[in-house]
């Protein structure tokens, strides 16, 4: 039981990180109808440059982390401002192509500016452990789960209980009508990209503190968060986020039962089976012309 409990704690923690990251994907998709492939790399910028600043340039760790997060916010907003917004109408799917280019660009530039090796990151409490009911829990685990719960609850309340949330949902529904009703759609859009940048950066820093940091470590993470989004549906709220947490638990269980290398094929199998079996109307986005 102790073993299984340990696995569950690990799974829920990883799943919470997927969920927090996915929240950034969801708000951007719902307001801008775009997918950002470079999103994981935006987070990577925060963690990797923070590492560079404190370890190579001798900045205090908190300052380095704040600079990293701000950098990610700036880059994510710039992606929308410079690229996504300029996609002409009637070219659906181009957001994927353009952000794929940005993905490659960010990876290569960061590799060129810093290096291509993996480095240990500040543990942020991952090395301070206590035992609770036979299960070892680190401070980092607690921070991850707590932060995820608070941020998701806050996002839900913001979206559903405030006038800002109403404006956001209105621009997500129909930007033209929202604009006509006096909502500043462009500012809201920039704000969602900036907030998503901050979320991605925080998740990337937490992931780095639990593993290590290099120019590529966020890509497998991005894939899994997207998988959860695909299964749950990108235009919903609770379902994809719950799927993200469940995916973390599922992955941990697969690793526990089938061995350390079983995570990747288990996730692939899951997505294929789910997409093959679940009824079309349940997993598809609303059937609208994205043009």
């Amino acid at each position: 039981m102790g073993d299984l409990g340990q696995i569950l704690v690990g799974g829920v923690t990883t799943g919470s990180l997927y969920a927090l990251f996915l929240l950034g994907v969801l708000i951007v998709f719902q307001v801008s109808k775009s997918i950002n492939f470079a999103y994981g790399q935006v987070g990577m910028i925060a963690a990797f440059s923070a590492w560079f600043l404190y370890s190579e340039q001798g900045l205090p760790v908190p300052v380095a982390l704040v600079v990293g997060v701000l950098l990610a916010v700036a880059v994510n907003s710039a992606i929308d401002y410079v690229a996504i917004r300029r996609i002409p109408a009637g070219r659906p799917g181009l957001d994927l192509v353009v952000t794929l280019g940005i993905f490659l660009l960010i990876t290569a530039v960061m590799q060129q500016l810093i290096d291509a090796n993996a480095h240990t990151f500040v543990p942020l409490g991952a090395d301070t452990r206590t035992e609770v009911a036979g299960v070892v829990v680190s401070v980092n685990d607690g921070v991850v789960v707590g932060l995820t719960a608070v941020v998701i609850a806050a996002a839900y309340l913001l979206l559903n209980r405030t006038s800002l949330g109403t404006s956001l949902r209105a621009s997500a529904e129909d930007a033209g009508i929202a604009q006509a009703a006096g909502v500043n759609v462009r500012a809201l859009r920039t704000a969602t990209w900036a907030v998503a940048g901050a979320l991605g950066a925080i998740v990337a820093v937490l992931v780095a503190s639990r593993l290590s940091v290099d120019a590529f470590y966020m890509t497998p993470f991005l894939i899994k968060a997207f998988v959860a989004g695909m299964i749950g549906g990108l235009d919903r709220f609770w379902l994809p986020l719950s799927v993200a947490v469940a995916l973390g638990v599922y992955e941990s269980l697969a690793v526990f039962w089938l061995g350390a290398s079983a995570g990747t094929p288990a996730v692939f199998l899951l997505i294929i089976v789910v997409l093959a079996l679940v009824p079309k109307r349940f997993v598809n986005e609303r059937n609208e012309v994205r043009a």
Binding site: I35, A83, R86, I87, R91, G93, L94, L96, V97, V98, T99, L100, G101, I102, F103, L104, L105, I106, T107, A108, V109, Q111, Q112, T219, P220, I223, F226, V227, M230, S261, T264, P265, V267, F268, I271, I272, V273, L275, A276, K280, V283, N284, E285, N287, V289, A291
Partner: protein, 342 residues
């Protein structure tokens, strides 16, 4: 060949009788141009550049396949290099058992088809976005399989592939490899060019341009997308087969996510939706990294690739072919205007 394709306006049926009369002559011109270009490397280049040219031929099959999927059908695959890897590793396994050309090709086709069916059938009955994301996971899966089957595939260390021997030809000789690669590359080009004239090719364009409208006129959208994916996977598999035979060595980084992205960059830069564009893309994806390496700046290649992909996709939707076509039209307009004046 270039000018003939450039002159044909896309999506316009044109004047039917004129097309028919011009047909054979135009075809002859294209074959002649292809033959002339194909004769250049063996006659003028040294061994090393013939070797690079042979790789261009292999990659041309891959980009033609990706173009069928992305350029013609509008679906995005982020695992095209991984499907090349499926072909390459199948070749490696089959050839290490001692089988020759026919069995190798049959195995590559069958394995590519099965892998493509597993990826495409569940995802493509849904949206194209699903395909992009699942193919992303497929690349990870292939890397995982190779990493965890070191005994069978050589793992992360890579594996040496036995050269392909057909009669007097031995693919470890650059010139022979070039000649061997020429045949499948020519067949793949002819098939891809012909596809545009078939009903399937037109259905693909309809699906690309607007799915809703295509569906409303009776196009089986999912089936068309899945067919396109299967065609592109077999193209990639054959490209991987050739790549393994030509280079004689394969390893996981040749077929990872970045390799897939580079193929994507190639198709977009060359000009999505055209055969010429796919060939330009293949030349780009083989020769440009080589040029950067020769210039002593290999790290610039991914930076330039990423920037080009974003910029070209946004600003030059039809790539180099589109630029060429625009220049040609402008030139002709000037000429027509001058003729009108005299």
């Amino acid at each position: 060949m270039t000018s003939a394709i450039l002159r044909r306006p896309r999506g316009e049926a044109g004047n039917a009788t004129g097309e028919r009369k011009q047909g054979p002559r135009r075809l002859l011109t294209r074959v002649a141009v292809f033959a002339v270009i194909a004769a250049v490397p063996p006659l003028l280049f040294d061994d090393y550049w013939v070797f690079m040219s042979a790789q261009v031929l292999a990659f041309a099959i891959a980009t033609l396949g990706l173009d069928v999927l992305y350029g013609r059908t509008g679906q995005m695959s982020l695992a095209h290099a991984s499907f090349m890897g499926v072909g390459a590793y199948t070749t490696y396994l089959v050839s290490s058992l001692g089988y020759g050309l026919a069995v190798q090709l049959a195995a590559v086709a069958v394995v590519s088809l099965i892998a493509a069916l597993v990826v495409a059938v569940p995802t493509l009955r849904l949206s194209g976005l699903r395909l992009a994301l699942v193919t992303l996971a497929f690349g990870e899966l292939l890397a995982w399989v190779v990493r965890n089957t070191t005994d069978l595939t050589g793992g992360t260390q890579g594996a040496s592939v036995d050269p392909l021997i057909i009669g007097q030809l031995d693919s470890s000789e650059p010139l022979h490899a070039y000649l061997i690669a020429l045949v499948p590359a020519a067949i793949a080009t002819a098939l891809a060019a012909h596809l545009g004239r078939t009903q399937l090719g037109r259905r693909m364009l309809a699906v690309r341009d607007t799915e809703l409208a295509a569906e409303s006129v009776g196009v089986a959208v999912s089936r068309t997308k899945i067919t396109a994916f299967l065609i592109s996977a077999v193209y990639a598999g054959v490209a991987g087969w050739l790549y393994a035979a030509i280079t004689g060595f394969i390893s996981p980084p040749d077929f990872d996510l970045f390799a897939s992205v580079y193929l994507f960059v190639a198709v977009v830069i060359g000009g999505a939706g055209t055969v010429v564009g796919a060939w330009l893309g293949a030349a780009y994806v083989v020769l440009v990294p080589e040029l950067f390496t020769l210039a002593g700046q290999p790290n610039l290649y991914p930076i330039v690739g990423g920037a080009l992909l974003a910029i070209v996709a946004l600003l030059v939707p039809d790539g180099i072919v589109g630029l060429g076509r625009g220049a040609w039209r402008r030139a002709r307009r000037v000429r027509d205007a001058q003729e009108g004046a005299t």
